[in-house]
C-alpha cells in the first residue's frame, strides 16, 4: 500500500522545513518533497517603510545568516542614495562590509559542520537521536566541541566588530558603513589570546580543507 514518510522538523539545515517522502505500492520512492512551512510576508510588509530601515528589517529573515540579508538590502539602498552598485562606496565601507560577510560565512560554516553535520558523521545516521546531536558531541568529543564553540565565536566576534552586534547588527547603512575597525580591534583578531586569533582559526584545517598557501 502506498505510504508517506514525514521528517519534521528538518534539523540538519539552517531554518524551518519539512520533508515528505511518498512511497508507491512496492515501497519505491514515488516522490520526495521539501516543504518550506514558514511564510511571513516580508515582500509585502517592507513596502512603504522608510528606505533606510531595509537593511535592519530584512536581516530578520534569518538569525543564522542575518549579515547576508543585511548586505543585500544595503546594496539595494546604495543605489537609491546614488552610491551605485559597489564602486560608489568608500574603501573603508567596502572592506568593512566584506569582512562582515567573511565573519558570517565563517560562523555559519562552523555551525553547519560542527553543530549540525558532525553528529551524523561521528555517531552514524542510525545512532540514537538522544546522543546523535551536538550535545552528544560535546559529551563524547569535548575537544572537538570546544573547537566548534571557538570557531563559531570567532566568526561572531568579527560580525560584532563590523556590524555592532553579533546578531542583527546595524553596520551597513545606505551608501556605506557606520563604524570602522580600530587598530585595537584588528589586532585582537590577528594576535588575540589563544585560540581566538586568525592563525589558530585557520591552521587546524589548513592541510585538510584548504591549500596550505595563504595569500
Amino acid at each position: 500500500m502506498a505510504r508517506k514518510i514525514t521528517i519534521e522538523p528538518v534539523t540538519r539545515v539552517e531554518g524551518h522545513g519539512k520533508v515528505t517522502i511518498h512511497l508507491d505500492d512496492n515501497n519505491n520512492v514515488a516522490q520526495s518533497r521539501l516543504h518550506i512551512v514558514e511564510f511571513r510576508g516580508f515582500e509585502r510588509f517592507v513596502q512603504g517603510r522608510p528606505y533606510w530601515e531595509a537593511p535592519v528589517l530584512v536581516q530578520r529573515l534569518c538569525g543564522i545568516c542575518p549579515v547576508s540579508h543585511h548586505l543585500a538590502a544595503a546594496k539595494a539602498v546604495d543605489v537609491i542614495v546614488g552610491a551605485g552598485t559597489g564602486d560608489g562606496l568608500t574603501p573603508t565601507a567596502e572592506k568593512m562590509r566584506r569582512l562582515m560577510h567573511y565573519g558570517q560565512m565563517f560562523q555559519s560554516h562552523s555551525l553547519h559542520f560542527f553543530h549540525l553535520a558532525s553528529p551524523d558523521l561521528l555517531f552514524g545516521f542510525d545512532a540514537d537521536p538522544a546522543i546523535r546531536n551536538v550535545i552528544g558531541v560535546a559529551l563524547e568529543h569535548k575537544d572537538l566541541a570546544v573547537q566548534a564553540v571557538m570557531m563559531r565565536k570567532f566568526g561572531q566576534e568579527i560580525i560584532r566588530a563590523t556590524a555592532g552586534k553579533k546578531i542583527h547588527g546595524t553596520g551597513a547603512i545606505p551608501g556605506g558603513i557606520n563604524k570602522n575597525l580600530s587598530t585595537k580591534e584588528r589586532d585582537e583578531f590577528l594576535k588575540g589570546k589563544d585560540p581566538l586569533n586568525i592563525d589558530k582559526m585557520i591552521s587546524p584545517f589548513s592541510g585538510i580543507f584548504m591549500p596550505r598557501t595563504r595569500t
Partner: protein, 179 residues
Amino acid sequence: MSKPIVATASLAGCFGCHMSLLDIDDRILQLIDLVEFNKSPIDDIKTFTKQCDIGLIEGGCCNSENVENLMNFRKNCKVLISVGECAIMGGLPALRNGIPVKECLEEAYLNCVTVDDKIIPNDEELPMITDRVYPCHEIVKIDYFLPGCPPRADLLWEALTALLSGKPLDIPYVALKYD
C-alpha cells in the same frame, strides 16, 4: 538529583534567539552539565519524551502549526518563557498585521519582480496561515519574558542560571532599550 529538563522551539522566528543562546560560547558546556535538553532544534529530539521543567519559545504564531506547537509546549513544560521580541509581541513578522494575508501571498508569489512560476502554494502539507501574527501570551499562559532582538547571550545565561537557582533576575536597562 536529576537535572532540570529544558525544551526549546522556534515558531515564527528567525532562529536568532537560538543563535544568541549559542553565543554564550564555552558556557554551553556548563549548561549541558546543569540541564538536560529534550525536544529542541539544538538536539534531534522531535517529540517530547518526558515532562520538561523549562520551555524556551522563540517566535510568535503566524500559522496553525505554530499554534499547535506552542500549545504542546504549554502542556509539556512547567515554566514557559517567551524569548525575544517575536514571542513577546509578534516582533518584525507582526508588521504584516493590518495587511490582508492575500496581499502578502500575492506579492511574494505572483507580483514580485523575481517570481518565475506564478503559483501561490496551497498544499495539504502546509499549515494554515493565521489572519495575523499572535504573540505567545495571547495563545497560552506565559510565565516569563526575556526582551531583545535577540536577547543578549549574557541575559539568556543569567536568566537560566537564576531560574535554576531560584534567585531573582535583574534585567539591566541596556537590555530593555530599543537597539
